[in-house]
Subunit: 454 residues, 2 copies
């Protein structure tokens, strides 16, 4: 199949139908009326703005969460904005189907209406980056900028977003480090089309700096500060936000996800296929066969999934996995890789190791010999020798990985994510065995199919 | 037994008898006459000097090699000194029992006479450190200085030398890094007796600088340069040579040997025994039991002992052992220790490892993904993933340590001592097995009895 046919086929699936559009437009109109009414009733000076992919008409078919921002005048004190904003959101939500309070920089209302999720978010009514006071304030400016510049390329953005989702590089959350929707929009606006962005995967990386707002001319010093700061952080891309020269739109994009995009873009151009947009489920396989093939070993820590949102849970699992890597390397095991995640109500950390049994006697480095502590070390150990200035002795250690891990946890010698420490201490530690519900995760990890670029 | 009784008993064994003294004195007289005669016959302007422990009367009973130095006037060109010096040595040696030519900074004659080894070494007749031109020139000054300062402590020096030999800390050769005879003499002269030196093992290390020639007063700048240079080199001791402020007498003394001296001195003072001077043969043991006890593994490389003197062979063996340590660590084995040496005509390198079999599949780090080489790596490997900026792939590797070592040697991936490289390539590589003649070495190594301070 050529790229054109693939794109045509994909568009049929991701472009909203006329019916869906009509539904959405109606919904937005209704919500806007509700907002205006409620604002009047409460006697507030607030303007409602739709932001996000619905407002920019870059949403994917079936994927239409509403973001309705409630913009207060700049002179409103922050405390008042929080309070009145939440009050307004609640008053509106009372007339919708259901709602809950969600928490970001400040609390907001997440309601449901006609099967759609509706976020009612208080913010400041900013006209320029200089007015920005809270993290969400820029959204209104983003929406305006995209709408002014997109010139009918909306479907191209849809393609790029769906492609990024398909290859697992979409989302700027800290535990993803992929492309945000806004970044996808900017790239399409800058390079003209979905295919152009793919073709420039290498060029974009080399060019490194994208400045669609021309800030390097208009606000040289501020923009250069952003460039320098982000270059120091070694970001793959520096995309100066066209609505705010202080911000790198790609600040959360990691090298890993750019790498995936890089190779998948290349492969798509060589052999276009709808599979990039809608990947098949990964090949199932047997993790025990993988262990036999590789001659390596698996350790699984399985524990009750803590009651935390992904934003909190996943970074803590990652931190803990790294903690185990370090602790086990210190203990003389080689760690070839690790993975983490959850499946149903079971969270897990997996490690691939060179072995699950180690030697019984290892070498303990001691202090310098000519010290009080050296004398102590000399007296306490049966066989002692000097190498360089230091003393060394033998040390008996636990042989089995399960015992080693228990001991490490007991002695608090693993750096663990704070919120999940206690759960991990209660984990089942399994050597060369994965419980039924984690078998597939173990296979994807050990075979590296999870990250395989091919 | 108390220290006094031990010392008395040891002295009986190491102090030369009257008979031995008479023999030595006769021998020296004869050799001196021979020298004077031969010098006259050849019409040379050379003065003979006895140097070394015979000339200083600090030799151990039965251990009496003669060092006869043939001192040429300072104005003699170096080339002439080499030539005439060798000629003179040969002419003298013709009248002794046998001889050969040995090589140091310049060639000299090593003769045998009445069962004693006699070195006939050409040098310059220096009167001061400012005259010193070749490495051996200082010997005459050393002998003079010791004789002027020893004040009858000759037996104390004998005790210290024998003690250092007994604990295996004697000899300033590069492959020993222990105490030289001259250093032992200086320590006794400085601290007054064998026991005083032992008692000050800690103090001496802390004081660090010993300046028996008072150079820090007489030649401040030169002496301070020596102190600074040697401090930068992190030597355990800086003993400014009383005959030359540019030299640290203890330059070749390593921390390891000082460490041995440190603990053995302490132990001797706690529990005096003749064993320190005349150690028993190390306990015999079974190396296979050690492997079972520790759960570790042994690799032996056994090969024909190259025809090199220890001065050359041992450093090269050490270098090669370190080379194997590094190469095997790179390959994922943990190396707990290594040893080298020879037994009869068999040289060996031994390594203690965590295992002799490793996983079949390991992880190969690749280049950064956005490079030509990255593309190449991506194309050449079946499973590829990105971590940070780099690509990684799987790699099949040899499982067995013997195959791993063969492959490393074939591909020249082990840093080996130059003169023994070819021999090592022909070595038998044995896993968890030592040939009969190396069984004892394997035991001493694995049990760490070889270096055990206790």
């Amino acid at each position: 199949m050529d790229a054109e046919s693939v794109i045509k086929e994909v568009l049929q699936q991701i472009r909203p139908t006329e019916e869906e559009r009509a539904f959405i437009e109606n919904l937005m109109r209704e919500l806007e009326e509700l907002a205006v009414e409620t604002i009047e009733e409460l006697g507030l000076d607030v303007k409602p703005y739709f932001v996000g992919s619905l407002a920019k008409d870059t949403y994917l078919a079936g994927d239409h969460d509403v973001d309705l921002f409630l913009a207060f005048p700049l002179e409103t004190p922050l405390e008042e904005l929080r309070e009145k904003g939440l009050e307004l959101g609640k008053a509106m939500a009372e007339r919708l189907d259901s709602y809950e309070i969600a928490y970001a920089e400040h609390p907001y209302v997440r309601a449901r209406y006609r099967g759609v999720s509706v976020d009612l978010v208080p913010c400041y009514d900013v006209k320029s980056w200089k007015d920005v006071r809270t993290a969400v304030d820029r959204s209104i400016l983003h929406t305006e900028w995209v709408n002014e510049n997109i010139r009918g390329k909306n479907d191209e953005v849809r393609l790029l977003k769906r492609f990024l989702k398909g290859i697992n590089a979409y989302g700027s959350e800290i535990y993803v480090r992929g492309f945000s929707g806004y970044l996808a929009e900017i790239l399409v606006i800058k390079y003209g089309s979905f295919l152009e962005v793919l073709e420039k995967a290498d060029f974009i990386l080399r060019q490194k700096i994208i400045d669609p707002g021309n800030w390097l001319k208009r606000e040289y010093e501020t923009a250069m500060n952003t460039v320098k700061r982000e270059a120091d952080e070694d970001r793959p891309l520096i995309v100066i936000d066209p609505v705010d020269p202080r911000r790198n739109v790609a600040a959360n994009l990691g090298w890993e996800r750019y790498g995936i995009f890089y190779f998948k873009a290349m492969k798509f151009l060589e052999e276009p296929s709808t599979k990039f947009f809608f990947p098949e489920k990964p090949r199932a396989g047997n993790y025990l066969d993988e262990l036999r093939r590789k001659g390596t070993h698996l350790v699984v820590l399985a524990f009750e999934k803590p009651d935390l949102v992904d934003d909190l849970l996943l970074p803590q699992l990652e931190r803990s996995a790294r903690g185990f890597e370090k602790a086990l390397e210190r203990e003389g095991f080689r760690v070839f890789g690790w993975d983490y995640g959850y499946s149903g109500d079971k969270a897990f950390i997996m490690l691939e190791l060179d072995r699950v049994e180690r030697e019984r006697v290892t070498i303990k480095p001691g202090p310098e010999f000519f010290t009080e502590r050296g004398l102590d070390f000399y007296r306490k150990n049966e066989r002692v020798w000097v190498r360089g200035k230091r003393l060394y002795a033998e040390k008996r250690v636990k042989e089995n990985i399960v015992d080693v891990i228990s001991e490490l946890l007991e002695k608090n010698q693993v750096a663990l994510g704070k919120g999940i420490r206690e759960m991990i201490k209660l984990a089942d530690v399994l050597a060369d065995y994965a419980p039924k519900e984690l078998e597939q995760s173990a296979y994807l990890f050990l075979s590296r199919e999870k990250w395989n670029l091919k």
